[in-house]
């Protein structure tokens, strides 16, 4: 509506920005009252970004899936699976860079394969995405355990921590990947035919099909993207832990969905933005880091996270009406 981009930005994301600022102010206030190190600083910003990198990368894929009217529950399992595959390959093939990079590619390829598998059931056999990806979630979790017989793989070379711990000009590689993935995701959704098609399918699949949108192909791409990004998230986590652990990531899909929903993406599809997901992600990450910062234990954190999700979704609803 408005030609003024700054104003349009505020109209769309004002509530999220206010929530974010409010959060920061509250944590800063509480930190000062407790007499501990101030919360707000560039280092904390980096910390928050770094800690949200893993969910963040996966949430970009999830945003596409949800906007297309679907859901992907296999994300958490793929996070574990990706790490396990890469760690196993790196361990087996020796210490060189090549082994690890080969491991990345194999893991990502496995992710794309998994996404294709989900998409096959969702498009060809018309299985609801919830069911299809629920089945894949279980299958992939089990496969992850099977290929390493349930035990984490940890005898990998030091450089395995490249994705999770290396710095470029003082910025963690994870943060760079995060920002890169968000920019690519935003451009894809906003400026390409693919993005338009994703939103059209979520808005009305039948209308989209009758307008010549290649619905099955677009859905396939969306689930592949989500799975591949979940694997990338898994590689980053695995690198951070310098091991491939088949037990990690249980329930992570819900954390990822939370970020997407707080960002204003509609679970019924058709409506949502990458920028919203980014803000949703940061709001949740600041909350987690901030609550730890001021010393709240994890059960209390869960309660507050739940309340914040409710409040965000409610505010979004008010905005729409």
């Amino acid at each position: 509506m408005s030609r003024n981009p700054a104003r349009a930005f505020f109209v769309n994301y004002g509530y999220l920005l206010i929530a974010l600022v409010l959060e920061c102010v509250v944590f800063e206030f509480l930190a000062r009252r407790q007499g501990i190190k101030p919360f707000l600083s560039f280092d904390t910003l980096l910390l928050v970004l770094n800690q949200s990198a893993i969910y963040g990368v996966a949430s970009v894929g999830m945003t596409f899936v949800i906007i297309s009217g679907g859901i992907d529950l296999s994300v958490g399992s793929l996070i574990a699976f990706g790490g396990v595959i890469c760690a196993l390959i790196t361990q087996k093939l020796g210490a060189g860079w090549n082994a690890m990079i080969f491991g990345w590619f194999v893991a990502i390829a496995a992710g794309i394969g998994t996404g294709s598998f989900s998409a096959l059931f969702i498009t060809r056999f018309q299985i609801p995405p919830f069911i299809a990806t629920l089945a894949v979630m279980s299958t992939i979790r089990g496969l992850g355990f099977l290929i390493v017989e349930g035990k984490p793989v940890f005898d990998v070379p030091e450089r395995y921590t490249f994705l999770g711990r290396y710095l470029v000009a003082g910025i963690p590689i994870g943060v760079i990947i995060l920002i890169f993935v968000f920019i690519i995701g935003g451009v894809l959704l906003n400026s390409t035919r693919f993005g338009r098609h994703v939103r059209a399918i979520g808005g009305s699949e039948e209308s989209a099909r009758l307008s010549g949108v290649p619905v099955d192909r677009v859905k396939w791409a969306v689930y592949c993207m989500s799975s591949a990004l979940a694997v990338l998230a898994g590689l980053m986590l695995s690198s951070k832990m310098k091991s491939g652990d088949p037990t990690v990531g249980v329930g992570d899909e819900l954390q990822v969905i939370a970020a997407v929903v707080v960002g204003g993406t509609s679970l019924t599809g058709g409506r949502g933005t990458i920028m919203g997901t980014f803000l949703g992600l940061i709001i949740i990450a600041v909350l987690a880091t901030g609550l730890t910062w001021i010393g709240m234990e994890s059960f209390g954190q869960q309660v507050i996270l739940g309340i914040v999700i409710l409040a965000a979704v409610l505010l979004d609803r008010i905005k729409r009406t």
Partner: protein, 319 residues
């Protein structure tokens, strides 16, 4: 729509309002009688879980001791999620705590994070569970070798220095390896006692029961079973009872869970357990950190005492 506004606002106020009230304010927990330090030392702890009694006892003792020493203690629980634990430790590091206590969810996966903290000059202490290949200042945990040794000696006494023993094992876990090593070491002094078989029970009751059944089949003249934890011991007990051998074979276990205690007290085939002392672990952890702060050298591994319980000691305890 007005109503929605109100609800949303109320929610925000609610979460804004409840955070400070549940927050421990460490500055007020510092007791007046502590030495007037220029700056209060802060310790960050990221522990396995809040759900187990073991950790609740450990934390209570830690908090007591920290109060005594005048430290601010900030505790987080990772609830078995290693990524969460990594985030907690990173946040502590960013806050500039003076020492870290970690009870790892994933002994291997936590190592890079611990090393990262150590490289920034923050000493890291592991409590109860060790980290693999990590730059840890000191590891404070139950003395599993001693625990195995004590229960071995106890069992040898029960058997009058003679008999055949099977172990329901879980050989992949480091602490179990230590227990079994101690156990075997104790039995070296009794040449007439033989360990005839080690069967994998994976520390789980159903699998332990199956393993024990196999052992009973294979060893006709079995006298005793050592279960490396209480689930293994109770699984073995179930196997014995279903084979009708509960009066011929005796069992010793490890951990002293409430169920195991009840079983021992009831005079079943399970005769004794090794018990750990989480409160000691908590207390000694803080004391070790205090020693480190004071510039004293600390041991790489600080073993914490363990004890044997049997029917007699439990009955005495009840009175």
């Amino acid at each position: 729509m007005r109503n929605l506004h109100l609800v949303a606002f109320a929610l925000l106020v609610l979460c804004g309002g409840c955070s400070p009230s549940t927050t421990p304010a460490p500055s007020t927990t510092a007791p007046a009688d502590s030495a007037p330090a220029p700056k209060q030392k802060t310790i960050g702890a990221s522990l396995l879980t809040q759900g187990h009694q073991f950790y609740r006892d450990l934390v209570a003792a830690m908090e007591d001791e920290a109060k005594k020493q005048g430290y601010a203690l900030r505790i987080q629980y990772a609830e078995f999620q290693s990524p969460k634990q990594i985030n907690q430790i990173e946040t502590f590091v960013q806050q500039g705590v003076d020492a870290l206590i970690v009870a790892p969810c994933d002994s291997a996966g936590i190592a890079p994070t611990i090393n990262d903290a150590a490289s920034k000059g923050i000493p890291v202490f592991t409590a109860d569970i060790a980290a693999h290949n990590a730059n840890v200042t000191s590891h404070i945990a139950s003395d599993n070798v001693l625990g195995g040794k004590l229960i071995g000696e106890y069992l040898a006494k029960l058997l009058n220095g003679k008999g055949n023993i099977a172990i329901i094992d879980n050989a992949e876990v480091a602490s179990v390896q230590e227990r079994v090593a101690g156990f075997e070491e104790a039995l070296k002094a009794f040449p007439e006692i033989k360990i005839v078989q080690k069967a994998p029970g994976y520390g789980r009751r159903d699998k332990a029961m199956r393993a024990a059944q196999d052992v009973i089949q294979a060893q006709s003249d079995l006298n005793a079973i050592f279960g490396i934890n209480d689930d293994s011991a109770l699984g073995a007990l179930a196997a014995l009872e279903s084979a009708g051998l509960q009066d011929k074979v005796i069992i010793v276990g490890y951990d002293g869970t409430p169920e195991a205690r009840d079983t021992i007290r009831a005079g079943k085939a399970l005769k004794a357990d090794t018990v750990q002392h989480p409160e000691e672990i908590g207390k000694i952890t803080i004391q070790t950190i205090a020693d480190h702060f004071a510039g004293k050298p600390v041991q790489k591994v600080v073993p914490v005492r363990v004890d044997i319980i049997d029917k007699a000691s439990l009955d005495a305890e009840q009175k």
